[in-house]
Amino acid sequence: MMGPMPYVILSVLLLVLGLAIVISKRNAIVMLIGVEFILNAAALNLVAFSRHGAGDLSGQTAALFVIVIASAEAVVALAIFLNFYHRIATVDIDRGDQLRG
């Protein structure tokens, strides 16, 4: 029987990878991919603790909310990026430094 340790280590790895992706890439959509990594790391942690720690389902329910929020976030972010792309013909977020539309 494995404890929560491997899951937590994996979630740390995912978190660091996600952060590295967000930091290193300038493409907005790839950054969104990095954010998905981070969110999944968090959800994985929650589920692992729910199974091995608390003994109830609150962790799983919280992970469910993570999925819900991630999907909402992805939809809105993509809509924003497509508008962004429409305005300045790129998804390079460094180019989006003007305050006027």
Binding site: I23, S24, K25, L32, Q60, A70, A72
Partner: protein, 175 residues
């Protein structure tokens, strides 16, 4: 033993996917690596007995969010795409910061003395439903409002605004 093997079966792809995204230059491949990661995490949920969550992960993430992402990638990936590789100096900094973060987190995690609580019983969707409608009723309602707002926002952002401009002049080409 079997559990460890299955854990590795799912854990290795997630990490590989992350590294591949870091190193890759092709955005569409990145999106497909993300999907691999999502499916593997779903598998981990299955391994932990959270069947409902695993299924929802695959359904919502892979069937919805990831497809949407691929869609967005395809709509925007063109020659004007921004750089996907950091410069050499940035790479060094990135590696240093990531490693530091990783080491710090892993060390702190390793120092924790885990108290093995009772293993949560194999759950049914009904119990999760009770949990959502009981302890988490407030967040649940908030999430529904959030989804509504997100839907409206996305629809607003993607609404038609510009009338059609006649495509590049009205010259009639008669052949």
């Amino acid at each position: 033993m079997l559990e460890k093997a299955i854990f590795l079966l799912f854990a290795v792809p997630t990490v590989v996917a992350g590294v591949a995204i870091l190193l890759s230059k092709n955005i569409v491949r990145m999106a497909f690596w993300l999907i691999a990661m999502l499916i593997a995490v779903g598998g981990l949920y299955f391994l932990m007995g959270a069947y409902f969550l695993g299924v929802i992960q695959i359904m919502v993430y892979v069937g919805g969010v990831a497809v949407l992402l691929v869609f967005g990638v395809m709509l925007t990936s063109r020659q004007l795409a921004p750089k996907l590789r950091p410069g050499p100096m940035e790479t060094v900094w990135l590696a240093a910061v990531s490693m530091a973060l990783l080491l710090g987190l892993v060390l702190s995690v390793a120092q924790v003395r885990w108290v093995q609580g009772p293993i949560a019983s194999p759950n049914s969707p009904a119990e999760i439903g009770h949990s959502v409608m009981g302890d988490f009723l407030g967040p649940f309602e908030l999430a529904s409002v959030l989804l509504l707002v997100a839907m409206l926002g996305a629809a607003y952002l993607a609404r038609p605004k510009v009338p059609v401009q006649s495509p590049e002049g009205s010259k009639e080409t008669t052949i």
